[in-house]
């Protein structure tokens, strides 16, 4: 095991370096935002956990294979892609529901505006009503 890890470190790939730099950048950003109180503790923990996992995975890529094998996937990348697609599906579903809700809110708002308008018109007298029609 020790030998294998040394071997991995020796033939480190550019993508691993990029991933590590990105993860450190993410972590720093999270810490900075926590200091400025733009992030809650929970959000900070979430983002720092992601960057830590990213760092570990880029240093020991074979770890992802172990996780993938546990779930029944051949390679770590397959596991990653499939879980990403599932996540995206879930997010799309949520957005769909959100849009539907937003849509019905807009309809309700527009309807209440229309009905308010008619109540306003009802309170006008004949001359005001004529003026209003001419305005349009």
């Amino acid at each position: 095991m020790v030998y294998e890890i040394e071997e991995e470190i020796k033939m480190i790939k550019p993508i691993q370096v990029i991933a590590i730099i990105f993860a450190i950048f993410l972590l720093l950003k999270a810490i900075l935002r926590l200091k400025n109180k733009k992030l809650t503790i929970n959000e900070f923990l979430f983002w720092s956990a992601i960057s830590v996992i990213l760092i570990i995975l880029s240093i020991f890529p074979q770890l992802s294979n172990i996780v993938a094998n546990f779930f029944g996937f051949g390679r770590g990348l397959d596991f990653f892609i499939v879980s990403s697609i599932l996540l995206i599906f879930y997010l799309i579903f949520r957005i769909y529901i959100m849009l539907e809700e937003l849509d019905s809110k807009i309809v309700k708002l527009a309807r209440s505006i229309s009905l308010k308008e008619i109540k306003d018109i009802k309170s006008l007298d004949r001359q005001q009503l004529k003026d209003k029609i001419n305005q349009i």
Binding site: I106, V107, A110, R111, S114, L115, E117, I118, I133, I136
Partner: protein
């Protein structure tokens, strides 16, 4: 007491007309309705960009205006809500493009006023007075079959805008669909709430204008997809 008697004898009939960019036909539709003595008319201007609003207001009818275009289903709901608020006993929905005949309304509301049924649906296929174009006919028949599979109700015409309903039925059928799927939604609600209904033959006048203004055939697929998603989401 006298007033109650009066109400019993003469039900308040409100005509609800959803209109979107119908400046060419709306005034003749209103005139036609007034000729047959229907004076309680609610025009719902669904955010038209033309002169529909002005023409309707000049015609001295009740006009509600949506600030933005919401769709026919939403316009019907607005009109029905307002009619209920104004104390309507019977609500008749009527298209603004001039394809419906005001003289059919009397026939349509008869079973509702006599309390035989709560909803009367207009049907263009019960007699042969409508000159339906053949492609439209095919699509409408497909719609009828779909409705049968979805709700188990076999009708002769499912996508007809001319309907009459009692106050009770209108309260139960509160349309949630924004667009054209309201036709199937209404039938679904009739089924769920076990509302008594009846089909009445009416004439649809297909003029060049109403064909141009009416549902484009390519839109049928769109309506179908919306119907299906609604059905699955439930």
């Amino acid at each position: 007491m006298k007033r109650i008697d009066n109400m019993k004898n003469k039900p308040k009939i409100y005509i609800v007309i959803p209109a979107y960019n119908e400046e060419n036909s709306i005034s003749s539709v209103i005139k036609d309705l007034k000729k047959y003595n229907y004076h309680k008319i609610i025009v719902v201007d669904d955010g038209s960009t033309d002169n529909t609003l002005k023409i309707a207001r000049q015609a001295r009818v009740i006009v509600v205006r949506h600030p933005i275009n919401l769709g026919q289903g939403a316009a019907l709901r607005t009109g029905m809500d307002l009619a209920l608020e104004l104390g309507a006993d019977i609500i008749v929905t009527f298209d603004a493009d001039g394809q419906h005949m005001a003289k059919d309304i009397n026939k349509l509301i008869k079973p509702v006023t006599s309390k035989e049924v709560d909803v009367a649906l207009g049907s263009r296929f019960m007699d042969h007075s409508s000159n339906t174009p053949w492609l439209k006919k095919v699509l409408l028949k497909i719609g009828i079959i779909l409705i049968f599979f979805m709700y188990g109700i076999m009708l002769t015409d499912t996508h007809n805008g001319l309907k009459a309903m009692s106050r009770l039925a209108a309260q139960k059928i509160s349309i949630e669909s924004r667009g054209m799927e309201h036709a199937s939604e209404i039938i679904g609600k009739i089924k769920v709430n076990r509302i008594k209904f009846k089909e009445i033959p009416v004439t649809i006048k297909y003029s060049k204008y109403s064909i141009k203004k009416g549902q484009r055939i390519s839109n049928s697929l769109n309506i179908f997809i919306k119907m299906l998603t609604k059905w699955f989401m439930k």
